[in-house]
Symmetry: C2
Subunit: 187 residues, 2 copies
DNA sequence: TTGACGAAACCGTCTAATTGGTATGTTATG
DNA sequence: CATAACATACCAATTAGACGGTTTCGTCAA
Protein backbone atom coordinates (compact mmCIF):
# COMPACT_ATOMS: atom_id res chain seq x y z
CA UNK A 1 0.00 0.00 0.00
CA UNK A 2 2.16 2.85 1.22
CA UNK A 3 5.65 3.29 -0.11
CA UNK A 4 7.10 2.50 3.27
CA UNK A 5 6.73 -1.14 2.58
CA UNK A 6 8.80 -0.85 -0.55
CA UNK A 7 11.66 0.81 1.14
CA UNK A 8 14.94 -0.92 0.65
CA UNK A 9 15.70 -3.29 3.47
CA UNK A 10 18.70 -2.25 5.46
CA UNK A 11 18.43 -3.95 8.80
CA UNK A 12 21.65 -2.63 10.25
CA UNK A 13 20.89 0.91 9.27
CA UNK A 14 17.38 0.79 10.60
CA UNK A 15 18.55 -0.75 13.82
CA UNK A 16 21.14 1.95 14.20
CA UNK A 17 18.60 4.62 13.47
CA UNK A 18 16.21 3.26 16.05
CA UNK A 19 18.92 3.34 18.68
CA UNK A 20 19.86 6.87 17.78
CA UNK A 21 16.31 8.09 18.02
CA UNK A 22 15.91 6.38 21.36
CA UNK A 23 19.12 8.00 22.52
CA UNK A 24 17.95 11.43 21.47
CA UNK A 25 14.62 10.97 23.20
CA UNK A 26 16.22 9.79 26.41
CA UNK A 27 18.72 12.60 26.31
CA UNK A 28 16.29 15.40 25.56
CA UNK A 29 13.19 14.34 27.40
CA UNK A 30 14.32 11.79 29.93
CA UNK A 31 13.66 8.16 30.47
CA UNK A 32 9.95 8.56 30.83
CA UNK A 33 9.71 9.81 27.26
CA UNK A 34 11.29 6.72 25.76
CA UNK A 35 8.21 4.80 24.74
CA UNK A 36 7.91 2.38 21.87
CA UNK A 37 5.42 4.65 20.19
CA UNK A 38 7.68 7.66 20.54
CA UNK A 39 10.70 5.83 19.15
CA UNK A 40 8.68 4.40 16.34
CA UNK A 41 7.07 7.72 15.54
CA UNK A 42 10.24 9.80 15.63
CA UNK A 43 12.19 7.33 13.55
CA UNK A 44 9.60 6.79 10.88
CA UNK A 45 9.85 3.07 11.47
CA UNK A 46 6.63 1.31 12.30
CA UNK A 47 6.09 -0.17 15.70
CA UNK A 48 6.05 -3.59 14.15
CA UNK A 49 9.42 -2.91 12.61
CA UNK A 50 10.76 -1.63 15.89
CA UNK A 51 9.55 -4.71 17.71
CA UNK A 52 11.09 -6.87 15.06
CA UNK A 53 14.54 -5.53 15.83
CA UNK A 54 14.02 -5.35 19.57
CA UNK A 55 11.48 -7.90 20.74
CA UNK A 56 10.59 -5.79 23.77
CA UNK A 57 11.35 -2.50 25.37
CA UNK A 58 13.93 -3.89 27.70
CA UNK A 59 15.94 -5.32 24.86
CA UNK A 60 15.94 -1.92 23.24
CA UNK A 61 17.29 -0.27 26.36
CA UNK A 62 19.94 -2.91 26.81
CA UNK A 63 21.03 -2.57 23.21
CA UNK A 64 21.21 1.16 23.75
CA UNK A 65 23.47 0.68 26.71
CA UNK A 66 25.69 -1.81 24.94
CA UNK A 67 26.06 0.46 21.98
CA UNK A 68 27.04 3.18 24.37
CA UNK A 69 29.73 1.16 26.04
CA UNK A 70 31.15 0.21 22.67
CA UNK A 71 31.54 3.87 21.84
CA UNK A 72 33.24 4.54 25.14
CA UNK A 73 35.60 1.63 24.62
CA UNK A 74 36.58 2.87 21.21
CA UNK A 75 37.20 6.39 22.46
CA UNK A 76 39.36 5.13 25.30
CA UNK A 77 41.30 2.81 23.05
CA UNK A 78 42.00 5.64 20.67
CA UNK A 79 43.23 7.89 23.44
CA UNK A 80 45.40 5.13 24.85
CA UNK A 81 47.08 4.51 21.51
CA UNK A 82 48.33 8.09 21.47
CA UNK A 83 49.80 7.74 24.95
CA UNK A 84 53.39 6.50 25.18
CA UNK A 85 53.64 6.20 28.96
CA UNK A 86 52.32 2.87 30.29
CA UNK A 87 51.84 3.98 33.88
CA UNK A 88 48.34 5.40 34.33
CA UNK A 89 47.59 5.06 30.63
CA UNK A 90 44.11 3.69 31.05
CA UNK A 91 43.19 6.36 33.55
CA UNK A 92 44.36 9.06 31.16
CA UNK A 93 42.54 7.35 28.31
CA UNK A 94 39.37 7.31 30.33
CA UNK A 95 39.83 10.94 31.26
CA UNK A 96 40.55 12.05 27.71
CA UNK A 97 37.70 10.05 26.26
CA UNK A 98 35.32 11.79 28.63
CA UNK A 99 36.86 15.18 28.00
CA UNK A 100 36.61 14.73 24.26
CA UNK A 101 32.86 14.52 24.58
CA UNK A 102 32.56 18.27 24.97
CA UNK A 103 33.90 18.90 21.50
CA UNK A 104 31.76 16.28 19.85
CA UNK A 105 28.66 16.94 17.76
CA UNK A 106 25.32 16.94 19.52
CA UNK A 107 24.55 13.48 18.34
CA UNK A 108 27.47 12.08 20.29
CA UNK A 109 26.52 14.12 23.32
CA UNK A 110 23.12 12.53 23.24
CA UNK A 111 24.83 9.22 23.70
CA UNK A 112 26.62 10.50 26.74
CA UNK A 113 23.46 11.81 28.28
CA UNK A 114 21.94 8.44 27.75
CA UNK A 115 24.51 6.81 29.96
CA UNK A 116 23.26 8.69 32.93
CA UNK A 117 19.67 8.15 32.05
CA UNK A 118 20.22 4.45 31.62
CA UNK A 119 22.20 4.15 34.82
CA UNK A 120 19.12 5.35 36.59
CA UNK A 121 17.40 2.15 35.57
CA UNK A 122 18.37 -0.50 38.10
CA UNK A 123 18.17 -3.29 35.56
CA UNK A 124 21.02 -1.79 33.56
CA UNK A 125 23.39 -1.12 36.38
CA UNK A 126 24.79 -4.61 36.44
CA UNK A 127 26.11 -4.11 32.93
CA UNK A 128 27.97 -1.04 34.06
CA UNK A 129 29.35 -2.82 37.10
CA UNK A 130 30.63 -5.56 34.87
CA UNK A 131 32.32 -3.08 32.57
CA UNK A 132 34.06 -1.31 35.45
CA UNK A 133 35.21 -4.55 37.01
CA UNK A 134 36.61 -5.88 33.76
CA UNK A 135 38.59 -2.73 33.15
CA UNK A 136 39.92 -2.48 36.65
CA UNK A 137 41.12 -6.05 36.43
CA UNK A 138 42.65 -5.57 33.02
CA UNK A 139 44.66 -2.53 34.03
CA UNK A 140 45.53 -3.51 37.57
CA UNK A 141 49.21 -3.38 36.71
CA UNK A 142 49.33 0.19 35.45
CA UNK A 143 46.35 1.96 36.97
CA UNK A 144 45.84 0.97 40.56
CA UNK A 145 47.50 3.73 42.52
CA UNK A 146 45.48 5.80 44.93
CA UNK A 147 45.87 8.84 42.74
CA UNK A 148 44.69 6.90 39.72
CA UNK A 149 41.55 6.06 41.65
CA UNK A 150 41.13 9.72 42.52
CA UNK A 151 41.42 10.68 38.88
CA UNK A 152 39.03 7.97 37.72
CA UNK A 153 36.45 9.15 40.19
CA UNK A 154 37.04 12.80 39.39
CA UNK A 155 36.60 11.93 35.73
CA UNK A 156 33.23 10.46 36.50
CA UNK A 157 32.42 13.62 38.40
CA UNK A 158 33.58 15.78 35.53
CA UNK A 159 31.58 13.73 33.10
CA UNK A 160 28.55 14.16 35.31
CA UNK A 161 29.15 17.88 35.63
CA UNK A 162 29.48 18.26 31.88
CA UNK A 163 26.30 16.37 31.29
CA UNK A 164 24.33 18.29 33.84
CA UNK A 165 25.86 21.61 32.99
CA UNK A 166 26.73 22.18 36.61
CA UNK A 167 30.18 23.31 37.82
CA UNK A 168 30.53 25.96 35.20
CA UNK A 169 34.10 27.13 34.88
CA UNK A 170 36.10 29.17 32.43
CA UNK A 171 38.54 27.58 30.07
CA UNK A 172 41.65 28.42 32.04
CA UNK A 173 40.22 26.88 35.19
CA UNK A 174 39.28 23.80 33.27
CA UNK A 175 42.72 23.55 31.75
CA UNK A 176 44.32 23.82 35.15
CA UNK A 177 42.02 21.12 36.45
CA UNK A 178 42.76 18.75 33.61
CA UNK A 179 46.48 19.37 33.87
CA UNK A 180 46.32 18.56 37.53
CA UNK A 181 44.39 15.36 36.86
CA UNK A 182 46.87 14.25 34.22
CA UNK A 183 49.66 15.06 36.63
CA UNK A 184 48.07 12.91 39.30
CA UNK A 185 48.02 9.91 36.97
CA UNK A 186 51.77 10.19 36.53
CA UNK A 187 52.70 10.23 40.20
CA UNK B 1 -17.56 3.12 53.77
CA UNK B 2 -14.07 1.75 54.26
CA UNK B 3 -12.16 2.57 57.38
CA UNK B 4 -9.65 4.54 55.38
CA UNK B 5 -11.93 7.45 55.42
CA UNK B 6 -12.04 7.41 59.18
CA UNK B 7 -8.30 7.44 59.48
CA UNK B 8 -6.94 10.29 61.46
CA UNK B 9 -5.92 13.19 59.26
CA UNK B 10 -2.23 13.89 59.40
CA UNK B 11 -1.37 15.85 56.31
CA UNK B 12 2.32 16.27 57.04
CA UNK B 13 2.82 12.63 57.81
CA UNK B 14 0.95 11.49 54.76
CA UNK B 15 2.87 13.88 52.56
CA UNK B 16 6.14 12.62 53.97
CA UNK B 17 5.07 9.04 53.48
CA UNK B 18 4.13 9.67 49.86
CA UNK B 19 7.54 11.13 49.18
CA UNK B 20 9.25 8.21 50.83
CA UNK B 21 7.32 5.69 48.84
CA UNK B 22 8.08 7.57 45.65
CA UNK B 23 11.74 7.58 46.60
CA UNK B 24 11.79 3.86 47.22
CA UNK B 25 10.09 3.16 43.95
CA UNK B 26 12.49 5.33 42.00
CA UNK B 27 15.43 3.81 43.77
CA UNK B 28 14.43 0.21 43.39
CA UNK B 29 12.69 0.14 40.06
CA UNK B 30 13.80 3.28 38.27
CA UNK B 31 12.09 6.34 37.04
CA UNK B 32 9.71 4.52 34.79
CA UNK B 33 8.16 2.79 37.77
CA UNK B 34 7.23 6.01 39.51
CA UNK B 35 3.62 6.35 38.47
CA UNK B 36 0.83 7.95 40.40
CA UNK B 37 -0.93 4.63 40.69
CA UNK B 38 2.19 2.90 41.96
CA UNK B 39 2.88 5.56 44.57
CA UNK B 40 -0.71 5.58 45.63
CA UNK B 41 -0.89 1.80 45.79
CA UNK B 42 2.36 1.27 47.66
CA UNK B 43 1.61 3.96 50.19
CA UNK B 44 -1.95 2.96 50.94
CA UNK B 45 -3.06 6.49 50.18
CA UNK B 46 -5.68 6.84 47.52
CA UNK B 47 -4.84 8.47 44.26
CA UNK B 48 -7.16 11.28 45.12
CA UNK B 49 -5.29 11.81 48.34
CA UNK B 50 -2.00 11.77 46.51
CA UNK B 51 -3.21 14.33 44.02
CA UNK B 52 -4.49 16.45 46.84
CA UNK B 53 -0.98 16.82 48.20
CA UNK B 54 0.74 17.04 44.83
CA UNK B 55 -1.60 18.45 42.20
CA UNK B 56 0.26 16.69 39.43
CA UNK B 57 3.09 14.29 38.85
CA UNK B 58 5.63 16.93 38.12
CA UNK B 59 4.98 18.62 41.43
CA UNK B 60 5.58 15.32 43.16
CA UNK B 61 8.92 14.86 41.44
CA UNK B 62 10.01 18.38 42.22
CA UNK B 63 9.04 17.99 45.84
CA UNK B 64 11.04 14.79 45.90
CA UNK B 65 14.05 16.57 44.58
CA UNK B 66 13.72 19.47 46.96
CA UNK B 67 13.37 17.16 49.91
CA UNK B 68 16.51 15.44 48.75
CA UNK B 69 18.53 18.61 48.55
CA UNK B 70 17.39 19.57 52.01
CA UNK B 71 18.77 16.33 53.36
CA UNK B 72 22.04 16.86 51.58
CA UNK B 73 22.31 20.38 52.93
CA UNK B 74 21.71 19.23 56.46
CA UNK B 75 24.31 16.47 56.17
CA UNK B 76 26.91 18.86 54.79
CA UNK B 77 26.18 21.45 57.43
CA UNK B 78 26.56 18.89 60.15
CA UNK B 79 29.89 17.70 58.79
CA UNK B 80 31.10 21.26 58.44
CA UNK B 81 30.28 22.10 62.05
CA UNK B 82 32.66 19.37 63.19
CA UNK B 83 35.48 20.73 61.04
CA UNK B 84 37.72 23.37 62.62
CA UNK B 85 39.82 24.21 59.57
CA UNK B 86 38.20 26.86 57.32
CA UNK B 87 40.25 26.13 54.23
CA UNK B 88 38.49 23.47 52.16
CA UNK B 89 35.83 22.99 54.79
CA UNK B 90 32.92 22.85 52.41
CA UNK B 91 34.69 20.39 50.16
CA UNK B 92 35.36 18.11 53.10
CA UNK B 93 31.80 18.54 54.30
CA UNK B 94 30.52 17.55 50.91
CA UNK B 95 32.87 14.59 50.83
CA UNK B 96 31.94 13.42 54.30
CA UNK B 97 28.25 13.85 53.73
CA UNK B 98 28.50 11.63 50.71
CA UNK B 99 30.69 9.11 52.48
CA UNK B 100 28.29 8.91 55.38
CA UNK B 101 25.64 7.61 53.05
CA UNK B 102 27.18 4.17 53.03
CA UNK B 103 26.52 3.67 56.71
CA UNK B 104 23.00 4.94 56.59
CA UNK B 105 19.88 2.79 56.72
CA UNK B 106 18.40 1.69 53.43
CA UNK B 107 15.75 4.31 53.61
CA UNK B 108 18.33 7.06 53.42
CA UNK B 109 20.14 5.28 50.62
CA UNK B 110 16.95 5.30 48.67
CA UNK B 111 17.05 9.04 48.82
CA UNK B 112 20.53 9.08 47.41
CA UNK B 113 19.57 6.80 44.60
CA UNK B 114 16.77 9.14 43.81
CA UNK B 115 19.18 11.97 43.16
CA UNK B 116 20.64 10.12 40.25
CA UNK B 117 17.31 9.03 38.98
CA UNK B 118 15.93 12.51 39.17
CA UNK B 119 18.96 14.05 37.55
CA UNK B 120 18.21 11.92 34.55
CA UNK B 121 15.05 13.92 34.05
CA UNK B 122 16.00 17.05 32.14
CA UNK B 123 13.32 19.13 33.81
CA UNK B 124 14.95 18.71 37.20
CA UNK B 125 18.53 19.43 36.23
CA UNK B 126 18.16 23.17 36.49
CA UNK B 127 17.42 22.83 40.17
CA UNK B 128 20.68 20.94 40.63
CA UNK B 129 22.61 23.50 38.61
CA UNK B 130 21.25 26.23 40.83
CA UNK B 131 22.27 24.38 43.95
CA UNK B 132 25.82 23.85 42.71
CA UNK B 133 26.19 27.46 41.62
CA UNK B 134 24.92 28.80 44.94
CA UNK B 135 27.35 26.67 46.90
CA UNK B 136 30.31 27.42 44.72
CA UNK B 137 29.62 31.14 45.11
CA UNK B 138 29.11 30.89 48.83
CA UNK B 139 32.38 29.11 49.45
CA UNK B 140 34.52 30.79 46.85
CA UNK B 141 36.84 32.06 49.57
CA UNK B 142 37.70 28.72 51.11
CA UNK B 143 37.06 26.11 48.45
CA UNK B 144 38.21 27.26 45.06
CA UNK B 145 41.62 25.70 44.68
CA UNK B 146 42.29 23.31 41.84
CA UNK B 147 42.66 20.45 44.27
CA UNK B 148 39.36 21.32 45.90
CA UNK B 149 37.74 21.04 42.50
CA UNK B 150 39.39 17.68 42.01
CA UNK B 151 38.04 16.47 45.32
CA UNK B 152 34.55 17.78 44.65
CA UNK B 153 34.47 15.99 41.35
CA UNK B 154 35.97 12.83 42.81
CA UNK B 155 33.32 12.96 45.51
CA UNK B 156 30.65 13.02 42.86
CA UNK B 157 32.38 10.07 41.25
CA UNK B 158 32.56 8.23 44.53
CA UNK B 159 28.94 8.95 45.21
CA UNK B 160 28.08 7.62 41.81
CA UNK B 161 30.20 4.53 42.35
CA UNK B 162 28.59 3.85 45.70
CA UNK B 163 25.15 4.19 44.24
CA UNK B 164 25.88 1.97 41.30
CA UNK B 165 27.93 -0.51 43.28
CA UNK B 166 30.74 -0.20 40.79
CA UNK B 167 34.38 0.34 41.77
CA UNK B 168 34.33 -2.25 44.48
CA UNK B 169 37.28 -1.89 46.81
CA UNK B 170 38.26 -3.23 50.16
CA UNK B 171 38.14 -1.10 53.26
CA UNK B 172 41.83 -0.33 53.39
CA UNK B 173 41.85 0.88 49.80
CA UNK B 174 38.85 3.03 50.51
CA UNK B 175 40.45 4.48 53.59
CA UNK B 176 43.56 5.33 51.67
CA UNK B 177 41.47 6.97 49.01
CA UNK B 178 39.51 9.05 51.45
CA UNK B 179 42.65 10.06 53.32
CA UNK B 180 44.16 11.19 50.09
CA UNK B 181 41.07 13.18 49.19
CA UNK B 182 41.02 14.88 52.58
CA UNK B 183 44.70 15.60 52.20
CA UNK B 184 44.08 17.24 48.83
CA UNK B 185 41.56 19.62 50.37
CA UNK B 186 44.19 20.83 52.78
CA UNK B 187 46.90 21.67 50.26
C1' DT C 1 21.54 -16.86 -15.65
C1' DT C 2 17.47 -17.65 -13.80
C1' DG C 3 13.87 -18.37 -10.73
C1' DA C 4 11.79 -20.55 -6.93
C1' DC C 5 11.50 -20.60 -2.07
C1' DG C 6 12.22 -20.00 2.78
C1' DA C 7 13.66 -16.64 5.92
C1' DA C 8 14.24 -12.06 7.33
C1' DA C 9 12.66 -7.33 7.32
C1' DC C 10 9.22 -4.58 7.76
C1' DC C 11 4.11 -2.68 8.06
C1' DG C 12 -0.64 -1.79 10.03
C1' DT C 13 -4.04 -3.05 13.21
C1' DC C 14 -5.85 -4.47 17.47
C1' DT C 15 -6.17 -4.95 22.50
C1' DA C 16 -5.92 -5.25 27.36
C1' DA C 17 -3.84 -2.78 30.78
C1' DT C 18 -2.08 1.35 32.57
C1' DT C 19 -1.44 6.17 32.51
C1' DG C 20 -2.16 11.09 34.43
C1' DG C 21 -5.83 13.63 35.68
C1' DT C 22 -10.91 15.26 36.82
C1' DA C 23 -15.03 15.44 39.18
C1' DT C 24 -17.51 14.55 43.03
C1' DG C 25 -18.06 12.76 46.96
C1' DT C 26 -17.29 11.91 52.43
C1' DT C 27 -15.16 12.74 56.80
C1' DA C 28 -12.51 15.07 60.14
C1' DT C 29 -10.93 19.37 62.26
C1' DG C 30 -10.52 24.06 63.57
C1' DC D 1 -20.05 25.46 59.37
C1' DA D 2 -16.16 26.26 56.44
C1' DT D 3 -12.28 24.33 54.89
C1' DA D 4 -8.74 21.01 54.51
C1' DA D 5 -7.89 16.15 54.12
C1' DC D 6 -8.85 12.49 52.26
C1' DA D 7 -11.60 8.66 49.21
C1' DT D 8 -14.20 6.75 45.11
C1' DA D 9 -15.44 6.64 40.59
C1' DC D 10 -14.62 7.75 36.47
C1' DC D 11 -12.27 9.24 31.74
C1' DA D 12 -9.52 9.96 27.53
C1' DA D 13 -5.10 9.01 26.16
C1' DT D 14 -1.25 6.28 26.03
C1' DT D 15 1.19 2.12 26.87
C1' DA D 16 3.64 -2.39 25.67
C1' DG D 17 3.30 -5.79 22.67
C1' DA D 18 0.72 -9.64 20.04
C1' DC D 19 -0.62 -10.80 15.53
C1' DG D 20 -0.97 -11.57 10.67
C1' DG D 21 0.05 -9.72 6.54
C1' DT D 22 3.35 -7.96 2.67
C1' DT D 23 7.73 -7.21 0.60
C1' DT D 24 12.53 -7.97 -0.06
C1' DC D 25 16.66 -10.79 0.18
C1' DG D 26 19.95 -14.63 0.20
C1' DT D 27 20.76 -18.93 -1.71
C1' DC D 28 20.81 -22.82 -4.24
C1' DA D 29 19.15 -25.85 -7.75
C1' DA D 30 18.42 -26.20 -12.70
Amino acid sequence: MSTAHHRKKQPLLVRQQLLEVAARLASEKGMMAVTLDAVSGASGISKGGLLHHFPNKNTLLEALFDSLIERLDRAIEEAMRADPLPHGRFTRGYLRACLALRDQPQETKDWAQVTMVLLSEPQLRQRWRDWVRERSEEYVGTDSSVDAAVVLLATDGLWLADLLGSHEMDESAREKLVDRLIELTQL
